[in-house]
Amino acid sequence: MKDWRYWLAEQRGTLLALGIFIVMFIIYTSNHPAGFTANVVQTAANKGVLLAFVAMAQTLVVITAGIDLSVGMIFLLTNCLASWLVVGTPMQTTLGVIAVLAVGLLCGAINGAIVIYGRLQPIVATIATGAVFYGIGLLLRPFPGGSVNEDLADAMTGRVFDVVPASLVALFAIVLVIWVPFSRSVLGRAAYAAGSSETAAYMSGVPIRRGKFAAYTLAGLLAAIGGLFLTFFTYTGDAAYASGNAYTLFSIAAVVLGGVSLFGGKGSAIGAIFGALAFRTIGDLLFVFDFDPLWQPLFQGVILLIAVSLGAFALFRVRNRLEWFL
């Protein structure tokens, strides 16, 4: 096989997600009353980028064959924290942003430590830490409120050169700064190897523990970046339990749509980003077709159900029934 065919096989999930997103976005904008204008793109980007950050966080953990059911709660916690800290002079704001990101890193590191060094199952451990993170968020913001440095917020949610949404530029920058170095580093390879076959990776002397720990920690950081952007968009902090749960759920949907295997070791955060953008666009299709917003939760649930059922097509390729049981 030629090199480009290997590349194509590796990127199939990502390209599929990109394709779904482009088709959905064309349907969306062509039916939108305002059409394809910078304003429509900016609004869509701002909504999509939030989920994209959380989905990237989920991807890092899913690649190691784990799952992080606390990403939505880290997202809420950092939102509440940012509504206290990211205010005042540019200096104070900078320190606040750093503090918020550090808290995200810490949350991720706690998850990682419990799952890897405490040897607990990721599902139960992250549900429990999610409860703790939500509790702390609720302590910080018992009622919605707070404020944020509006100059920074407007810069982050506005447009660069009046055309490109600033949030998309930020997303691109984060991908370049966090995802690209991680996926090309030894630790990133270790995370993939651990997800693909932990035993084989261990036998080959791959630093699986450090790789997984890095994945969980960076997931916390990415969720915190998402929380920061939520604050930029809403100007407030709000510890809404349902919203945190929804983001966790949607992050899994986005990851699946983005071609990341839930069994680990396969997929990329780029795919998850397109999955997140596609999922958001599909959810918003209801609005441009003038449906009752009451139907939105059902519509999103059905999309999620269909998305996860698509994985069942792999069953047709199974030659030996014993392969049903992993």
Binding site: I67, I114, G118, R119, L120, Q121, I123, V124, A125, I127, A128, T129, G130, A131, V132, Y134, G135, I136, G137, L138, L139, P142, E198, T199, Y202, Y241, A242, N245, L249, I252, A253, V256, L262, F263, L294, W295, Q296, P297, L298, F299, Q300, G301, V302, L304, L305, A307, V308, S309, G311, A312, L315, R321, L322, W324, F325
Partner: protein, 328 residues
């Protein structure tokens, strides 16, 4: 501590303690500890009325955790509990609004809706081989969407039937709340199924190694499917009881039962990987969780503090005895 001294001490203990799972013993020890701490805080903690009241509150969680345990024994998980509970409650109350026949069929209809959710989960897990964590999250979202469309986004106005209220709050035997009797009956049935029937042995077998169970000629997919249907039905029944307790259904009534039901099962020593665990442990876990919640609310801990303590306690107890074996 060496193995021999442990064995020596255990050798002198009565048989039932020697055979017991250390996790179950730890859970019961924690219950005693909590009661002791509670009694330091307030005298009324050890009064029979208070304990019976706690048992009654525990029985709702107990019914839901029974279904969760069956699924966890298979090595799967059911994250569709929140909206199975809410759907069971809402549909039972909704059926009650349709005349006398509706009132009679309210409870079976509520449970039926839960079983339907469970069957969708079961088809996804057993036949489509989708990871249970994912498919149950998805059906949870669909169930939520259906309920939101049905209720219009508000808590429904229909109220619970007399039978539902009687089951949740009545006293068929003087002094013993009906809810506790129901939990005892369901628990006894579960113990019988798990220990005395082929189905129960199959559940443990699949939890240990589904491949081996399949090769032994067991229709593993059917068993997994039935287990999920039972779990959905029991969640919905828990919802029906809760609706009877509060005399109506509410939007987010199930949210408070997902983490506690998983925690109760896991704290009771059932392995989250499946194949190991006893119902006695689940009973201990349910009582432990309920007492913890009760003490925190008696101390007037705000919701935030409760969530934090709750998560920390669960992680701490799991670190004590729920750890996976060291790699290789």
């Amino acid at each position: 501590m060496s193995e021999t001294t442990l064995g020596g001490i255990a050798g002198r203990m009565p048989k039932f303690i020697r055979r017991a799972d250390p996790a179950v013993l730890t859970a019961f020890a924690c219950i005693v500890l909590l009661l002791f701490l509670g009694s330091l805080y307030s005298r009324s903690f050890l009064s029979p009325e208070y304990l019976l009241q706690q048992l009654k509150v525990a029985s709702f969680l107990g019914v839901i955790a029974t279904g969760m345990m069956l699924v966890i024994l298979l090595g799967q998980i059911d994250l569709s509990v929140p909206w199975s509970v809410a759907a069971g409650a809402m549909m039972a109350c909704a059926a009650a609004a349709y005349g006398p026949a509706g009132v009679v069929l309210a409870i079976p209809f509520g449970i039926f809706c839960g079983v339907l959710i469970g069957i969708v989960n079961g088809i996804g897990v057993a036949y489509l081989r989708i990871p249970s964590m994912i498919i149950t999250l998805a059906t949870n979202a669909v169930a939520q969407g259906l309920m939101v469309v049905y209720t219009g986004g508000f808590s429904p106005q229909d109220s619970a039937t007399g039978a539902m209220r009687y089951l949740a709050t009545g006293f068929a035997i003087p002094g013993v709340p009906n809810a506790v009797i129901i939990w005892a009956l369901i628990g006894a049935a579960m113990v019988f199924v798990l220990t005395r029937t082929g189905f129960g042995r199959t559940v443990y077998g699949i939890g240990n190694r589904e491949r081996a169970a399949y090769l032994s000629g067991i229709d593993t997919r059917r068993v997994v499917m039935i287990a999920f249907a039972v779990s959905g039905g029991l969640s919905a029944f828990g919802g029906v009881l809760l609706a009877g307790y509060a005399s109506k259904a509410a939007q987010s009534m199930g949210d408070a039962y997902l983490l506690p039901s998983i925690a109760a099962v896991v704290l009771g020593g059932t392995s989250i990987l499946g194949g190991r665990g006893s119902y006695l442990g689940t009973v201990a876990g349910v009582i432990l969780i309920t007492l913890l919640q009760s003490i925190l609310s008696v101390m007037q801990m705000p919701e935030a503090g409760r969530q934090i303590i709750y998560g920390v306690v669960i992680v701490a107890m799991l670190l004590l005895y729920g750890r996976a074996p060291a790699s290789r």
